[in-house]
């Protein structure tokens, strides 16, 4: 029996506004505990929230970028529950009247484009952080994060596999980053993801019992948690056992999901409209003003890169995944108009370094000028592709000019035919057995000679020229 997974994601994106959503405290990350707090975000008696309009700007941006419907009247609601990191005893969120509903995010599945529909986008405030003492049964609360603005983005259960889930998250992150409203860092918690997942026999239209998954702090965790959950639910189904509606946590160490609470223990949040905040009115002018500020978005950029630079869909998708990378690509192509060569190098050498360091291109020493200079040296046969890779990592590390590195390290390639012919002739003379083999039809032996030339020249010989010369020598006589 074949099964399919039905997955919906709930993403919380922490916004990069300078101040909190309902007070003027800073949102900066990493300050000493309880230094970015005031009586409002600490819920002192008598204090009142006042909405930071920037948060609404950001919500409108995302709504426009995902083709969601922006509502002219949105209402903040209180989500009531007790927890020490929630100073008011309720979180100000949105419930039945969120700022936006509908819309979609486009992902690549194989060679197909698929739309994952959105249920809603709403604004809310973040909670604080609990810090547990390792030695005593004592916990501390840091309220710096309390009131940092969040957008919650809820998808329809349109996702059918862990890969699609990751593709959706990556695309959503790209959009958030293009809009410059969220830094999208999952490890640091500025982008958080919960999943609802159920399985059903392939072809069935009914929905199975859904399980909520939490505590997935990277794309890899999301992938692993969903894979595990599909296996777990499938096994239960095949054993004729019941799948229980519950919330499960992903255990990173063991790679499994563990039950956290059942349906009966589910919170009753007693949502009701927050009487401290008047209904938010968003008029057409506001939306239009925001629309004017939107950058070219990932999907549009991708189309353009395919058309304008002739990039394959796969390359384009990767390069547009980051606005900075896409800008880097375009700047390079302007100087060195061979898009495919640029994209090949970006997708291999450049991304390898970026991923290794977890950096964005603009955070490194690599500039389009340096990078294209390197590509030009390779193009002009001044260096070999092996040397080019060496030069690249040096440029990436130091920001030195490629030409300088080539000179300093003596990486300039030997292409002079006279010099190389002499070496080749000498080697052919020294290895009559191999020459014999070649002439009896074992053409592969040429590789042996190339290797010898390389050894003789300490790798500086231009392999193309060497090949040509050796072929001439071995074929003649």
């Amino acid at each position: 029996m074949q099964f399919e997974a039905v997955i919906g994601l709930e993403v919380h994106a922490q916004l990069t506004t300078a101040s909190k959503i309902f007070c003027s405290c800073s949102t900066a990350f990493g300050a000493a505990p309880n230094t970015h707090v005031c009586e409002v975000c600490m819920a002192a008696p008598g204090t009142l929230p006042v909405l930071n309009k920037k948060v609404v700007d950001y919500a409108i941006k995302l709504a426009l970028a995902t083709n969601a419907t922006i509502h002219p009247v949105a209402v903040f609601a209180r989500k009531n529950y007790f927890y020490p990191d929630l100073p008011k005893g309720y979180q100000i969120s949105q419930y039945d009247l969120p700022i936006a509903t509908g819309g979609y995010i486009q992902i690549e599945v194989g060679s197909q484009t698929k739309r994952i529909r959105l249920v809603r986008i709403h604004m809310e405030e973040d909670a604080g952080k609990l810090i547990h003492d390792e030695h005593r049964p004592v916990s501390f609360v840091d309220f710096n994060r309390t009131g940092v603005p969040l957008l919650e983005i809820v998808s329809e259960p349109d996702i059918r596999s862990p890969e699609e889930a990751v593709a959706y998250l990556k695309k959503l992150r790209a959009i958030l980053r293009y809009l410059e409203i969220c830094d999208g860092n999952m490890e640091e918690g500025s982008l958080r993801c919960d999943a609802n997942i159920s399985i059903r026999p392939l072809g069935s239209k009914e929905l199975g019992t859904k399980v909520e998954l939490k505590n997935m702090n990277s794309f890899k965790h999301v992938q692993r948690a969903l894979e595990y959950e599909i296996r777990r639910q499938t096994a239960l189904y095949l054993d004729g056992k019941e799948i229980i509606q519950e919330t499960r946590l992903f255990d990173v160490e063991k790679g499994v999901t563990v039950s956290m609470r059942g349906k009966e223990e589910a919170h009753d949040y007693r949502y009701f409209p927050d009487p401290d905040l008047v209904p938010l009115k968003v008029d057409d002018q506001w939306v239009e003003d925001i629309r004017q500020t939107l950058p070219e978005l990932p999907d549009v950029k991708k189309e353009r890169f395919m058309k304008e630079y002739g990039l394959p869909a796969y390359d384009a998708e990767i390069i547009i995944s980051s606005r900075h990378l896409a800008e880097f690509f375009e700047a390079c192509v302007k100087i060195f108009p061979k898009p495919k060569i640029v994209s090949n190098w970006i997708m291999t050498e450049v991304l390898r370094e970026l991923n290794r360091e977890g950096k964005e291109i603009h955070e490194t020493k690599l500039t389009p000028e340096l990078f294209t200079e390197l590509l030009k040296l390779l193009e002009d046969n001044v260096i070999s592709s092996t040397a080019a890779k060496k030069v690249f990592s040096e440029v990436y590390k130091t920001g030195k000019r490629p030409a300088q590195i080539v000179e300093e390290q003596g990486l300039r390639q030997e292409s002079d035919e006279e010099t190389l012919r002499a070496i080749c002739q000498k080697l052919v003379k020294e290895h009559p057995k191999e020459v014999e083999k070649y002439r009896s039809g074992k053409k592969g032996v040429i590789g042996f000679f190339v290797g010898q030339v390389m050894r003789e020249t300490k790798g500086k010989a231009n392999p193309k020229v060497v090949n040509k010369l050796l072929t001439e020598l071995l074929e003649s006589e």
Partner: protein, 484 residues
């Protein structure tokens, strides 16, 4: 040189004429407080030192010829309004030692106007009650009869004004908490339009109903205080961005020919004979003033109490969730987090507060929300529409403030429902968000004050105060004081 019964306006004049200094004035009030306060118990906290320092400053400013609306005038503040550095208890164990680091907006404005604070007045815990008996500390006594309640929840402020323990006071009104004690204590009390006065720094009971307002000896004084505290505030989103008119200048406006509506629903069962007669007599005075009196209908008013006792507790259950023992206020030790929460809230809150938190929590619960909270909100809309309809026909609506004069301490504590009925004539005004003014209109046979309520549409404070002022001058009751 008595000054305890002077109006704010008269004190202002005397201070300006250098008949007395602000420091003398403050000292006189503290002498009076030493003598009378043990019988009345209007104050939770007295701030003598701070008041004298403020008075000294005021005298300097007066000497320099500065002209501020309340320069050097001593006021009392209900103890659910935050004053920086002064304990703000809400008459609750939960906040017994809470000292705010910020001023309420109204406090900032009063300070800017030169006012001086004598202390913080008693109230029903978190403003929940109608007799000030729900104070966690002690009940306040009615200055007209010490065995009776002063009303509530702003009972301390009303009693302080009535007993000459301050020149004027601020209270807060969620379902009648300014007007009913004003009526019981024979003083003037105003519940302004919702959104007229900033709520920032007022410890929330029910956010969509709460409003700060003055309690004074005359309507003109109420106009003066409102003038100072009203107006938009960027710290309170529900505070309306609307200019504040000159209330004092409007007091003598010509109201002849204006129409006064009397809702027929207000004169049924439960209204005491004495109060009914007092209102009847007041209507005569209105006619004498040249106003036309006619009957109106507020058909949904019988449902006001029911709707109020869903909406207010629902909001309260959420507003009071912050008192969890984690950040400030009372904390009981517990064996774990849940235990700490339970013990803190069980021991920190009094019975009436707990009752309302439970009612409110229930009303908002999944499966009950539609039947209770949503329904109550719909009733609220209908009540607002009732008033809108009535105000198409009349300029004011008149009625009683409370069904009876002040009752005895302990008389109604056993039955919360009976206590809730004390607010039957005041609650609708909060639900609709309109203006409600309470002012003395008669004395009962036993010599207890009876209040009249003048209601007006949203932002009609100018006219409501003008009518109150003209009525008050016609009657002259403000010249009577309790024999303390």
């Amino acid at each position: 040189m008595s000054c305890f019964w002077d109006s704010l306006l008269s004190l202002r004049e005397r201070l300006a004429k250098k008949e007395l200094s602000s420091q003398e004035l403050v000292k006189h009030f503290f002498e009076r407080i030493k003598e009378v306060e043990p019988k009345v118990r209007a104050y939770i906290t007295l701030t003598e030192e701070g008041a004298l320092a403020q008075a000294k400053e005021a005298d300097k400013a007066l000497a320099a010829g500065e002209n501020k609306p309340l320069l050097g005038i001593p006021l009392a503040i209900k103890d659910n309004i935050c004053i920086r550095g002064v304990r703000t208890t809400c008459a609750s164990r939960m906040l017994e030692n809470f000292v705010p680091t910020y001023n309420a907006t109204v406090i900032e404005r009063l300070r800017d106007a030169g006012a001086i604070f004598l202390g913080k007045t008693n109230l029903d815990e978190f403003a929940m009650g109608s007799s000030t008996e729900n104070s966690a500390f002690f009940p306040t006594h009615n200055p007209w009869d010490l065995e009776r309640v002063p009303g509530g929840s702003s009972g301390g402020s009303a009693a302080a004004v009535a007993a000459g323990l301050c020149a004027g006071a601020l209270g807060s009104d969620t379902g009648g908490s300014i007007r009913q004690p004003a009526s019981f204590c024979g003083v003037v009390g105003l519940k302004p339009t919702y959104g007229r006065v900033s709520r920032y720094g007022l410890v929330a009971f029910a956010s969509s109903l709460d409003q700060i307002g003055p309690l004074t000896r005359t309507v003109a004084d109420t106009a003066l205080l409102l003038q100072v505290i009203a107006g938009p505030d960027n710290r309170d989103s529900t505070c309306v961005d609307q200019e504040v008119p000159d209330y004092l200048a409007a007091l003598d406006m010509d109201l002849k020919g204006c129409k006064v509506g009397v809702p027929k629903e207000y004169f049924g069962q439960g209204l005491s004979q004495e109060v009914a007669q007092a209102i009847e007599a007041s209507l005569e005075v209105m006619r004498d003033l040249g106003l036309e009196v006619k009957e109106v209908s507020l058909p949904h008013s019988p449902y006001a109490i029911a709707a109020y006792y869903i909406i207010a507790p629902a909001e309260a259950s959420s507003n009071l969730a912050r008192y969890d023992g984690v950040k400030y206020g009372f904390r009981a030790e517990g064996k774990d987090l849940l235990d700490m929460y339970k013990k803190t809230r069980s021991q920190g809150f009094g019975p009436e507060v707990k009752r309302r938190i439970m009612i409110g929590t229930y009303a908002l619960s999944a499966g009950y929300y539609d039947a209770y909270y949503k329904k109550a909100s719909q009733v609220r809309t209908l009540i607002t529409k009732d008033f809108a309809e009535a105000f198409k026909e009349v300029d004011f609506v008149l009625g009683p403030v409370a069904p009876s004069p002040a009752f005895k301490i302990g008389e109604r504590t056993a039955d919360p429902l009976e206590m809730y009925l004390s607010d039957i004539y005041t609650i609708s005004v909060n639900l609709a968000g309109i203006v409600g003014l309470s002012l003395p209109c008669a004395f009962s046979e036993k010599g207890l004050p009876i209040g009249l309520q003048i209601m007006g549409p949203h932002f009609s404070e100018e006219r409501v105060l003008a009518l109150g002022h003209q009525f008050e001058r016609a009657l002259g009751l403000f010249k009577q004081h309790p024999g303390l």
